[in-house]
Amino acid sequence: MTSLLDVRDLTFHYADRAGPVRAVDNVSFSLASGGSALGLVGESGSGKSSLALAIMRMLPTNVARYDGEVWLDGQELLGMAENRFRQEIRWRKLALVPQGAQNGFNPVLRVGEQIIEPLVVSGAAGKREARARAQELLAYVGLPADVYLRYPHELSGGMKQRAMIAAALILEPPVVIMDEPTSALDASVQTQITNLLKRLKQDMNLAIIFITHDIALASDLCDDLAVVYAGEIVEIGSAEQVLLHPSHPYTQRLLASIPRLHSDTLPQFIPGAPPDLREPPAGCRFHPRCPLVFEPCAQKSPPAFEPADGQMARCWLIEDGSG
């Protein structure tokens, strides 16, 4: 296996008062190499943020089930000792830009201090050296040098997002997970950020896992797309495959629900609501909302079919089509 990051059968359930919540169920995907981005697209509550936390091993206290394998650079992460994982993987190999970077900064420390903190604490660089590196990164993400000495509340949302990206890059990790990094920003600033991320991919040979609810936005950055529904990946493939030839009815419907600017066709909607992850429907989890539902859907959970080379979808229709 030569891929950079390989997630196999990752499952993460947490306990709720009413029972286990199956936030991540049997998820597998891989990131081939640096310089590319994988988009994880799903509605709120689909478990996509939990997936990011599960990969980072940042679990809440009420874990009910947590297994599977995560391979990064030939190392398995889930079985690694906590201390070693903290020292060798976190931020060094895997960095996270959280949802709403507004709150990602400690409000009482200066921005610069927080950017260089992992570098200084690990002892890899002196303070002066670290500062020079941080200044460089700040310039790269398009921020003035004085941001280094400012407090988080003195920055606008867009600036904080950039600063957070700079912070994620300080240890030059091969993989960065970004959770809805632009959802709270104005459209014009959102474009600036995605443009910046595109440059990052190329300039730094960075692998990005981009989590978003907006499949159109994901298409703006991602080379591969994974569509998450009710804790499962229902379809995964290259951007072309997923966007131009979506195989799963959910993907198709999701694409149709985007209001297209340059077309007169009205956006379509998916009737019903996403299922409660405490008791997901039997069989295919999408079947109660699926317009193409037929017998097997409610019976058995569809396995991963391969409608095209490198494309995967969990839908019984594909078996029918291919067989």
């Binding site: 959280p98 709150n103 400690n106 009482v108 992992p118």
Partner: protein, 351 residues
Amino acid sequence: MSLLRPLLVRSLTMVGVFFVVLLMLVLTLGLTGFSDRILSATIGEQLRAERTALAETIRDPDEMEKVLEKRREELEIFYGLSTPWYYRLPRTALRVLTLDLGEARTLRSFDGSNRVFDIVTERVPNSMLLLTTSLIITATIGIIAGAYLATRQGSWLDRFVSGFAAVSFAVPTWWIGILLILILSIQLRILPSGGMYSTPPPTQPLPRFFDLVAHALLPVITLVLVSFGPSIYSIRTITLNIAQEDHVKIARAKGLPESRVRLRHILRVAAPPIVTGLMFGLAGSLSGSILVETVFNWQGMGRLYYDALAGTPDENVIVALTFIFTLMYVVIRIVLEALYVFLDPRVRYTD
């Protein structure tokens, strides 16, 4: 500059507090006619003394009355009784502002002075000693135990402390002091029941110091006992809330050691609200110490209140005490506000 401005804004309220209290003092003294009564009494006393002196020289009773009447008018002008209180008292207030507090009727300072200023000011350090010691101990216990409890949310210890904190609010501090005296001094005879030094006080510095500590132990324990439950509980809650914030998650994602996360990313962020909690607790602690000093005969301002109230009331002392007490409170508050502004960069940034 950036620190000074918000501090100024925040201190202004405290200055307002100070003047409101001063206004209340003046109004109460004036509207109730208390001030007039006191002055007439003073003049009456002085006239009686003079009558005795004059009796030597003036024999004729009519002339005596005339002389005394004239003298009374002079004195009334001298003391300002000839003008209504709302002219006189503001001037008195101004005089008090310059710490000219008048003379006590019966109370004396430790070295015999009857100047209220002397009497009150020699008590201030004693009060401060008690107050700051217990405040520091309470805060320290609160921060250590609170931060620890935050990591064991929902445990029996956590629930016990919550319950204990609730009970603490229902217990009068001074009564706890009395109980401690009953148990530890009267029954078990472990600690002295009151005062600041044994009689006679040790003369060597070191024994003297330990004597003071022994006497301070009970009042300090009392003050701490009542306030540490709520203190732990509130710090636990603050810490718990901050620990759930995103920046803490990120700090952990950064692979920082847990101790660093707790110290710099949780406790450091909790510092401003903890200081706010201290500020709110301060008024309560001050009041608590007034009563506790009374219970333990600790020669501070609180005990002075009691002494001035018991027996023949000493009006000047009570007025001055209230004034100095407010002044002290305002000064400590401003210090805490400064600490707050220093700790929380968000306040510094106003524009």
